[in-house]
């Protein structure tokens, strides 16, 4: 799923021009985007030719796991982490005399690297918002786990690499 498109600019003395671009793609697992080490980035030069690709893509296998059945506990923990992360974002904005707001949330996976047990896809919510940086609107996002309340999880392997000069 294409999530972002970016442009690379160059300024020479007083002249500004676009010299490249990039497209960021998230991997989908069960039609839900994966946050963390699962992405594909395509870089383009000023003539729109693909110049390089970076990727980390996951092989996924579904596996049942033990989960908490205490929904109140899960919701309470989620709320606390949400407030902490929002507070960190707010402080960063406040320090730079900026302000912003949340405007959306989606279900997502969060990759947890758990050493010998393999990597785990943790269900989470990705919250996203925007803030004003002078006359420019910028964005922010953060993930808060939902602690496996849907009783399914997946184990995965990571393959990654980089191809240049395609």
């Amino acid at each position: 799923m294409i999530t972002r498109v970016g442009l690379e600019y160059q300024q020479r003395n007083d002249e500004v021009g676009v010299v490249g671009g990039l497209v960021l793609v998230y991997q989908l697992v069960q039609n839900i985007p994966v946050r963390g080490k699962a992405f594909l980035t395509m870089f383009y030069d000023s003539t729109s030719n693909l110049s390089s690709v970076e990727y980390q893509w996951l092989k996924v296998r579904t596996q049942n796991m033990m989960v908490s059945s205490d929904l109140n506990y899960v919701m309470d923990l989620h709320q606390k982490i949400f407030e902490k992360k929002l507070s960190e974002i707010s402080e960063s904005l406040y320090l730079n005399k900026m302000s912003g707001n949340l405007y959306g949330a989606v279900k997502s996976w969060h990759v947890i690297e758990s050493g010998g047990q393999g990597n785990i896809l943790q269900p989470c919510i990705t919250y996203f918002g925007k803030y004003n940086d002078g006359d420019v609107v910028r964005y922010f996002s953060f993930d808060v786990d939902v602690f496996s309340i849907d009783k399914k999880n997946v184990e995965l392997d990571i393959c990654s690499g980089k191809d240049e000069n395609l």
Binding site: E8, S92, L95, Y139, S141
Partner: protein
């Protein structure tokens, strides 16, 4: 005979004026990190010293890998050596930032609060700005300034840095936006060092890719990575410093005598995110 001597003299002078190109044989890297400011005149930064410590270790590791690869290809060559230094909190003052000793550090990493054309120092109301008088031409070729808004598009003036504080520097990495405020930035900077030193990427590609990747995978505030530099001719060849590679770097100060063609910068700006549901 006289003609020969003159030719030899001319050749020697020309060679002396040339800046050698190749891997740095001694790479000196210094960090300036402020966690808490004097009298709390700026807000504390939780991760600064930890990130600086981790980066210095990363430099050592990456140079070790670089040496293995280099010496395999150049049998008998001596390895690149590393000199590391650090300043923390009360050590991050302008006297340590702009000094004859600091002038010898090839790469400077700064972590603290910034604003347009300005870096904060630890001491109360201490600043280093783009028009600060420096110590003359220095052997600091690169700097990475982890500070908000220093190179803000449309508001900042980058050229004075290269006449004052960073006279002779090839390029300076930083941000035109605010910066990350969390610990995961260390992953981006370690990845940058690995790309530039070991994987032989151009300095701007290494930096911008590492920063964009961490934004994409870890979230947080959007940032705009930026590189600023002077460009021109070195040893009669055109040189754009955003393309400089560690293994083929110019080992000397550049463009410090109005001998440059212009000022340049590059930055990456991301559009509206689309996540879907």
């Amino acid at each position: 005979m006289m003609k020969k001597i003159l030719l030899i003299l001319l050749f020697s002078v020309t060679m002396a004026l040339c800046v050698t190109q190749g891997r740095p044989t001694n790479f000196s890297f210094t960090t300036y990190a402020i966690g808490s400011y004097q009298y709390g005149w700026q807000h504390s930064l939780n991760w600064s010293t930890m990130i600086a410590d981790s980066l210095r270790r990363s430099v050592q590791t990456n140079i070790a890998f670089f040496n293995i690869s280099y010496m395999r290809r150049h049998f008998g060559a001596s390895p690149t050596t590393v000199s590391l230094n650090s300043f923390e909190n009360s050590g991050v003052v302008s006297n340590n930032f702009i000094s004859s000793e600091a002038a010898n550090y090839n790469f400077i990493f700064y972590y603290g609060h910034g604003t347009t054309d300005t870096l904060t120092m630890w001491n109360y109301s201490g600043y280093v700005t783009n028009n600060h008088v420096g110590v003359g031409v220095r052997d600091t070729y690169w700097a990475l300034l982890h500070a908000c808004l220093v190179f803000r598009n449309g508001h900042s003036s980058q050229d004075p840095w290269f006449d004052g504080v960073f006279k002779g520097a090839h390029s300076i990495l930083g941000y035109s936006s605010s910066t990350f405020g969390s610990s995961h930035v260390i992953k981006a900077y370690k990845n940058f060092l690995n790309r530039w030193i070991v994987l032989d990427e151009k300095i701007w590609n290494a930096y911008s890719t590492a920063v964009v990747n961490i934004m994409h995978t870890e979230g947080g505030l959007d940032v705009e990575p930026k590189i600023v530099y002077r460009y021109g001719h070195v040893n009669n060849d055109f040189f754009d410093p955003w393309e400089e590679k560690f293994a083929n770097a110019y080992n000397g100060p550049l463009f410090s005598n109005n001998d440059y063609d212009g000022i340049g910068s590059r930055w990456i700006s991301l559009g509206t995110p689309i996540y879907g549901d």
